[in-house]
């Protein structure tokens, strides 16, 4: 049957939506505020053992001997796992590109501080940690590869000897006549930038309980898993199991932001269970383990970039050379993060030609993983900073320079040089609204007054496009082939008319369970509390991906609409049969299946479901007694990329402009945010409170990345950050309470016109803050081109000190 996915809310079978578009309370929340949600560490299984992991103190060293005999003699210790076991039972993890993966425990040598070396299973975590102290590991220390310069130097030590090089990937992309536009430019603005490594740091670290069934040779993993099926496939590969013998049960997660999933921890706990005759083994990563080696360090980048301009301020070209320190291999798909900017390489602007030179390098830092935004936050910081430098050189207001270069509302759908097609937008309207909201003129006046007093006050107006609803095709050129990311649901109506939505992912914070209930309730005309949303484990779930790529709110909406449409069609057939008419004479409206010609005659959803489940004699031929439907949604109309990576990748293009005013304290280098204003356009807002929460949360993480957070390594590649005393997470004091408004340009192609909106703020805030800082510094002739613009870094800049 043809399935109809509405792209507008007025196409829903309801006379007025009651839930979609409203800031309804989240169905997730009563349990969360009560402390009764089953995060993985709240679960214990009978006979469960606890895992602790001994980790490498060296960035690069050969393991010459391991003696765990004393640990094995400690009462309560059941098993010790070493690289010998792992080499016998496992393969290194998948990577993109292939061949840059590690084993879950070090085999032969260690490649970063914090790499697992030995693991213990014991009757308690306390005893397991006691046992670690009894293990002797001898190392032959090797020269570390501390940074990309060292990695690419001739004769450099190799992180992966079998590769023969430390360069994971090096390639260029050329889109349009780059050489010509730069040759014909009236002005070229170029700068170098350094974005230091930051990371996700959800408040809950990774955890899992793994159980190996020795009779069936199968594995069950319960845990804080972000992308369950992806995780199941990865574990099957690394643990040499058939994929249908790996069952992932995803628990609610205390935040994700990218790297939630713990493939190493899972494999280690699974192998310990195998060694312990199939007893379940729990591994809970602690914060120090997370900070040293967890999944979430991201974006360790060196940029050299330029834009070409005409005298009137028209930007014609954009060139970026990026060297990205991936750390010890590509296990965390950090490579993908460098390719993501292709989806919106030239931002909001009509830039006709662009060039990207990408070099991904392995070093002895911890491997990089996804983090919210997945690449554009640093990329946008580069582009927007260059726009500001150009505005300063041209003596144009930065808002005006941006306005002159915006893609016009009449130009959509608009194909950017790097290939993606933006679905819709109205960037000038967003700008107008935020300038009004912030009273931009008054901000500039207050800045002039402050400057006259010798104060360092700066303002930024920064615009970005958020590619929403990711697709694999965006990443084909870094080794991830495929088109279409599935998200499957089952919608089932029971005999009383209650509805269960089964999905393939679990809670992580974004509110998708609530969105699912809103969509079902409005489509089928029931109350939201009649809808139960539940997570299916991977052995029975439909194809799915889960959270990631600013897509799940849109994707799960599409999946539910598809399933509901299938249900509607089945219900129409049943009711038509009972009422002795044709299915096309029956319609669903406000929860009733009714005759189009005589709407008073009809049946409720509950009545139809009850009939289907209890009166098979009344069913038309070919209709099963099953008031349930499944649907697996993928983005429509995606295609394979060409050799320059060009394709329709991300489905939606949300947009935002942030206006921020900051003041730098000359004596301390501290940045104070005086005002922060946001106008965004993410199309239809399915739940406005969810959208605002995503925006504000992204601002907070952007503040951290721009001003405070940094994984600091010393010149010998030793991490200097291992606690929240060193890794500076923004508190309520550092995060501005923002003033927000929005405009709505619905997507013409996405379900209900909604656009991905989970990443836009972290795409924008770091650029906005750095641009405002540089606006403040401009009268002094100084520029900060390194993040985080920490007090120390700015103080050094203000006081003529170089280096960190």
């Amino acid at each position: 049957m043809a399935i109809d996915i509405p792209t507008r809310t007025d196409q829903l079978p309801t006379s007025a939506t009651r839930f979609i578009g409203k800031a309804v309370n989240r169905i997730e929340d009563p349990a969360l505020v009560s402390g009764t949600v089953e995060f993985i560490d709240n679960l214990s299984l009978p006979g469960m053992l606890h895992c602790a992991i001994l980790r490498s103190p060296h960035p690069h060293a050969r393991i010459t001997a391991i003696d765990a005999s004393a640990a094995l003699e400690l009462p309560g210790v059941e098993a010790v796992l070493t690289g010998e076991d792992v080499e016998r039972w496992c393969d290194p993890c998948f990577t993109a590109p292939e061949g840059w993966g590690n084993y879950c425990l070090a085999v032969g040598k260690v490649r970063f501080v914090g790499e697992p070396v030995v693991a213990v299973a014991a009757s308690s975590r306390y005893i397991a940690e006691d046992a670690l102290e009894l293990i002797q590991v001898e190392y032959e220390v090797l020269d570390p590869v501390a940074n990309p310069d060292e990695a690419m130097a001739s004769g450099a030590p190799l992180v992966f000897e079998n590769r023969g090089t430390n360069v994971i990937q090096s390639r260029t992309y050329t889109w349009g006549e780059v050489d010509r536009v730069f040759a014909e430019a009236d002005r070229v603005v170029s700068r170098q930038f350094r974005w230091n490594r930051v990371g996700a740091n959800p408040t809950e670290t990774f955890g899992c309980i793994c159980q190996w069934d020795l009779a069936d040779n199968s594995l069950t993993c319960r845990g804080a898993y972000q992308t369950p099926r992806f995780m199941a496939i990865g574990r099957a590969a690394s643990l040499r199991l058939p994929a249908n013998k790996v069952k992932i049960i995803s628990h609610a997660q205390g935040g994700g932001f990218g790297g939630k999933g713990g493939p190493r921890g899972t494999d280690i706990a699974a192998l310990l269970s195998r060694k312990c005759d199939g007893r379940p083994v729990k591994y809970i990563e602690d914060r120090m383990e997370y900070l040293l080696a967890g999944g979430g360090q991201s974006w360790d980048r060196y940029y050299d970039a330029a834009i070409a301009l005409k005298a009137d301020g028209t930007v014609t070209g954009f060139k970026v050379r990026l060297v990205d320190d991936q750390g010890a291999g590509a296990e965390g798909y950090g490579t993908i993060s460098a390719a993501k900017p292709l989806a919106a390489f030239t931002g909001n602007y009509r830039i006709e030609a662009a060039f990207y030179d990408l070099t991904l390098v392995a070093t002895n830092r911890a491997p990089t993983y996804p983090y919210r935004g997945y690449g554009p936050p640093p990329h946008n910081l580069v582009l927007e900073s260059l726009m500001d430098v150009a505005a300063r050189e041209l003596a144009l207001d930065p808002a005006e320079l941006r306005r002159r270069n915006y893609i016009g509302p009449e130009q959509f759908p608009y194909t950017v040089p790097s290939g993606n097609e933006y679905d819709s937008g109205n960037y000038a309207a967003v700008l107008d609204r935020v300038l009004e909201l912030s009273d931009y003129k008054a901000l500039r006046e207050s800045q002039a007054k402050a400057r006259a007093e010798g104060r360092l006050v700066g303002i930024a107006v920064v615009s970005t496009v958020e590619p929403g609803v990711f697709d694999w095709n965006a990443y084909a050129t870094v080794g991830v082939p495929g088109v279409g990311v599935p998200e499957g649901v089952k919608v089932a109506v029971d005999v009383f008319g209650n509805i269960t939505v089964a999905i393939g992912f679990n809670l992580q914070g974004q509110g998708q369970f609530t969105v699912a209930a809103q969509v079902v309730a409005d489509y089928l005309g029931v109350e939201m509390n009649a809808v139960k949303v539940t997570t299916a484990s991977t052995d029975v779930a439909l194809p799915h991906f889960g959270q990631g790529g600013s897509r799940l709110g849109v994707a799960v909406t599409g999946a539910i609409l598809g399933a509901c449409d299938k249900l509607r069609q089945t219900f129409c057939r049943v009711v038509a049969h009972v009422m002795q008419t044709e299915p096309d004479q029956v319609e669903l409206m406000n929860g009733r299946l009714q005759l189009k010609a005589a709407p008073a005659h009809g049946m409720t959803i509950a009545e139809v479901a009850g009939l289907m489940l209890s009166r098979s004699d009344l069913l038309p031929p070919g209709v099963e007694p099953c008031p349930e439907a499944t649907f697996v949604w993928v983005s429509p109309n995606r295609n394979l990329p060409d050799d320059q990576g060009r394709c329709r990748s991300y489905l939606t293009a949300a947009a935002a402009t942030h206006v921020v005013q900051v003041e730098i304290d000359r004596d301390t280098g501290q940045v104070k945010i005086l005002g922060y204003y946001i106008v965004d356009d993410c199309g239809t807002r399915l739940n406005p409170a969810n959208v605002e929460g995503q925006l504000q949360g992204g601002v907070a993480q952007g503040v951290g990345a721009a001003l405070y957070e940094e994984y600091v390594y010393d010149p010998q590649c030793q991490p200097l950050v291992s606690t929240f005393v060193d890794y500076l997470m923004p508190t309520i004091h550092e995060v501005p309470m923002t003033v927000k408004d929005h405009i709505v340009t619905p997507s013409p192609i996405a379900p209900l016109g909604a656009k991905g909106c989970g990443e836009g703020a972290i795409h924008t805030t770091p650029a906005a803050l750095l641009c405002a800082i540089n606006d403040a510094l401009a009268p002094l002739g100084l520029e900060c081109r390194e993040t985080p613009a920490s007090p120390r870094r700015l103080w050094n800049l203000l006081h003529g000190q170089h280096g960190h």
């Binding site: 309370n25 989240r26 089953e38 306390y126 959800p202 408040t203 809670l507 992580q508 914070g509 993480q701």
Partner: protein, 164 residues
């Protein structure tokens, strides 16, 4: 290492007597011995505040406290807030729901316990006083704005109820 000690304490109004290892943290005791899983552990070094509980009415980090230190104490955890009979949420919990003061909810019990202490001492706090009180709790999802709104809403509802 395995010195054991008997402790007696009250948790959410219920008395307990247990023999514990001297090194057992109060967070582990509450979570894994008493099976009250709402006190979450985010950093185990006293910075994130997810494990905040009230010991004799004052907020404390359960991760930095040993169970033996709580001998004789009266402890309140997040599980002690909801009405046991009706299941009705405490006004602070309800305010967090209504003002969307949480996303993943992992840090939320800590924020709510800190708020419980704040509003007990200062029923009508200013924004600056709220920020001062919540400055020791980390949230990675919300950006704090809706948390500030939640605390304001809770305070105004509790004050209205008290006045009536």
């Amino acid at each position: 290492m395995s010195t054991r000690k008997t402790i007696r304490l009250t948790v959410n109004g219920k008395p307990y007597e247990r023999e514990v290892e001297a090194r057992l943290t109060l967070a582990d005791f509450i979570r894994h011995e008493l099976h009250l899983g709402g006190t979450h552990v985010g950093c185990e070094h006293g910075i994130c505040g997810a494990c905040t509980i009230l010991i004799d009415g004052s907020s404390a980090r359960a991760c930095l406290t040993l169970a033996v230190q709580a001998d004789g104490a009266s402890i309140t955890t997040i599980e002690g807030l909801r009405n046991r009979e009706t299941g009705q949420l405490h006004p602070i919990q309800q305010a967090f729901v209504d003002a969307h003061g949480l996303q993943c909810g992992f840090c939320t019990p800590g924020f709510i316990m800190t708020t419980l202490e704040l509003l007990g001492e200062n029923p009508d706090p200013t924004d600056e006083e709220i920020k001062e009180a919540l400055g020791g709790n980390l949230c990675r999802c919300t950006g704090y704005q809706s948390i500030l709104d939640s605390v304001r809403l809770a305070a105004s509802r509790i004050n209205t109820a008290t006045a009536a």
